[in-house]
């Protein structure tokens, strides 16, 4: 799992780069020593991206010995606790928002506010808030992606439906589909978080971004009437039978075939669902995207856009090189390259980067940059503390199966809120 990039590559790079001459100024400080990077980008495409980044950074700093360790993405979530305390690398992947709070509070992440100068604060403005805790920044973002409704355009056209702009059309579309024996939405709630996506959108559309943030920050009671209104909207869909049956048995991937086979027409998901849907045979003529429509006209639209990040552990040995790497990661050229359709296939955070020609990326970029005036949330399990997220997501799943249990669920969540915050 450990890859050493140095001698051959660096030497090769030197010869090619020396010819071009222009490189010298941009990297005035010569970095040396060892740079240890732990990454959770273990899926094939992200892994190639990570390795590519290390390679290019190594070319720029030939004296630096970069050691990259890629750890399985799920295993990483528990291992990070061990290696941050016992064996800290110089750079580590993690997530923005409240997800980094335990490590910030425990003093395990380095304060990198010095990197966030005026220039960076402007180019990465969209996620500065998500990287900020206690008024300081604790890492840098490298990618994010939009959430939204991915739907079967051909099925919508077949039944004369259009992308809904409001809640009424959203529901009437669904009724038409149901009348034709097609489920409106596929979902797999086995691992819970998919249900949280629905809650995020319904709550942000019903009560707005600020309320949603207050709720995930524990400032609002779960038994509040506004929360109940969100669940009431959700219950309308559940009682219509909008979601596929037996969704508790499926993971999000296992729920994809329903959409591919035409048994369900749409999926509220992150942009990462596009790749497997395409691989399963859906062409871009069949697959399309729309932003979750407004429910309450009085609140501004807000979106979920989970951000993935790089951090420097406070126990890092080579902080100088680590800071240079973070700066390199956030540069506009690098973010353009790593987020391209044939790389991560996601959105660059740097406002000066260009977005790939992919239609979903373009739509997503537009949604997030100009059509999300309310704000950009991270995702329920990154905005809320881990414990609260777990209890709440279990409640969401239960609600989707047994909407009548709402009172019991909300009481439970409220008890948890009082204990956790």
């Amino acid at each position: 799992m450990v890859t050493h990039y140095r001698a051959a590559l660096a030497a090769l790079a030197m010869t090619t780069l020396l010819g071009s001459g222009a490189l010298a100024e941009s990297h005035e400080m010569a970095l040396s020593g060892e740079l240890k990077i732990f990454s959770d980008m273990s899926n094939p495409a992200p892994r190639a991206v990570m390795e590519g980044m290390v390679e290019r950074f190594g070319e720029m700093h030939p004296d630096l010995d970069i050691e990259l360790t890629v750890i399985d993405r799920e295993a990483y979530k528990t291992q990070i606790r061990n290696f941050l305390t016992a064996n800290p690398p110089d750079v580590a992947n993690w997530y923005a928002g409240n997800r980094m709070a335990p490590y910030v509070d425990a003093g395990l992440f380095e304060d990198v506010s010095d990197l966030w100068d005026a220039e960076m604060s402007e180019s990465l403005a969209s996620t500065k808030g998500a990287m900020t805790l206690d008024g300081k920044q604790w890492g840098v973002p490298y990618t994010y992606y939009q959430w939204g409704v991915y739907y079967r355009k051909d099925l919508y056209e077949e039944h004369g439906l259009e992308e809904p702009q409001d809640w009424e059309t959203f529901k009437s579309n669904c009724q038409t589909l149901l009348d034709n024996d097609i489920k409106c939405f596929t979902i797999g709630t086995k691992f819970l978080w998919t249900a949280a996506g629905w809650f995020d959108y319904l709550n942000m559309r019903t009560n707005g971004y600020d309320f949603h943030m207050a709720l995930t920050a524990g400032e609002v009671e779960w038994t509040d009437d506004r929360v109940r209104q969100t669940f009431a909207n959700w219950a309308e869909l559940i009682e219509m039978g909008a979601f596929i049956d037996n969704h508790t048995a499926y993971s999000w991937q296992e729920a994809l075939p329903f959409m591919v086979n035409g048994d369900a027409a749409a999926y509220l998901m992150g942009n990462f669902a596009v790749a497997p849907l395409r691989e399963a045979g859906l062409s871009d003529d069949q697959l399309d995207y729309y932003q979750f429509p407004a429910i309450n006209g009085d609140v501004e639209l807000a979106e979920d856009a989970p951000t993935d990040t790089f951090h420097i552990p406070s126990g890092a040995q080579n902080k100088e090189a680590a800071r240079a790497f973070l700066e390199f990661v956030t540069s506009a050229e690098n973010q353009t390259e790593i987020n391209a359709g044939d790389a991560l296939g996601q959105l660059p955070v740097n406002a000066n980067s260009s977005v790939d020609e992919d239609k979903f990326l373009k739509e997503g970029f537009e949604t997030l940059s100009s059509n999300s005036p309310g704000g950009v949330a991270q995702f329920f399990d990154r905005d809320a503390p881990a414990e609260m997220a777990k209890v709440a997501m279990e409640g969401f799943q239960e609600f989707m199966v047994k909407p009548d249990n709402l009172d019991r669920i909300l009481d439970r969540l409220e008890r948890a809120r009082q204990r956790i915050y």
């Binding site: 528990t78 490590y103 691992f191 799943q397 199966v401």
Partner: protein, 312 residues
Amino acid sequence: MAPLPPSTADRPAPGPAPRSWWRRNQIAITPWLFLAPGILFFAVYVLIPVFQSFNVSLYEWDGLGAAEYVGLRNYEEMYWDDAFYTSLKNNVIWLVLYLLAIPMGLAIALLLNQTVTGIRIYKSLFFFPFVISQVVVGLVFSWFYDPSFGLLNVMLGWFGAGPVNVLGDERWVTYGIIAAGLWPQTAYCMILYLTGLNAVDPEQIEAGRLDNARGFRMLWHIILPQLKPATFIAFVVTIIGALRSFDLISIMTGGGPFGQSRVLSFYMFEVALSEYGFRMGYGAAIAVVLFLIMLVFITYFLWSMYREERGR
């Protein structure tokens, strides 16, 4: 008064030079020396952690920062925690139903305890589920139960019964996982009984035949008493297996739907060590409760083994 004779201890011992301390105590010490590595590791990895668990359960600790002493608050919270009672109830269901592996294993062992051509192949096939990993068992059963393409629902369809979402329905999920767990556990009990049956005394069977015992009476009065050691071991491993039922739950449902298939060991893991957990204190409190439940069985096992030893 005549002077006392000088104490013998002051006098050099007659005969050969005194034996060294080691030589004198060799017999008594040797067993302890052989036991020492075992005792050391048992203490470090089992006994001391048990007491550490007791200790941690009195703290609120996320595994990173400073631990805060909270007394019995973790236990108080457990008292109000629905998820804890669900897990406890499931543990009881596991304990009771998992014991089915013993009669089932016995039945298969009796069936296979004959000399037919190729019986070894049949025996190996029946033993097969115990050899494969629990993770594989879990995956196979997940597909078997799958509501859209699983074999179970295809078969139910032949009888006109509707699809059952076994692993996604809170009423069925625990039973579904136990059924998966019984598959390898039955094989284990079978192998225990097969070896036990080898040791059954043919003369006693002969004598029973003469007394006109056959069928069930033969089994109950002649065979089973001789299988008592095998039954005892089967009981022990099954009880322990039921209390450790972690991997199947983790693979098949991850504790869901909405936490209805959790058992105490899984809940402890989820609270203390999973992605959303890291409440070491509460996890340790659950572990303590699980330990006390196990202690009941451990005491019983030790007591009956002790009685057995003394009876000889």
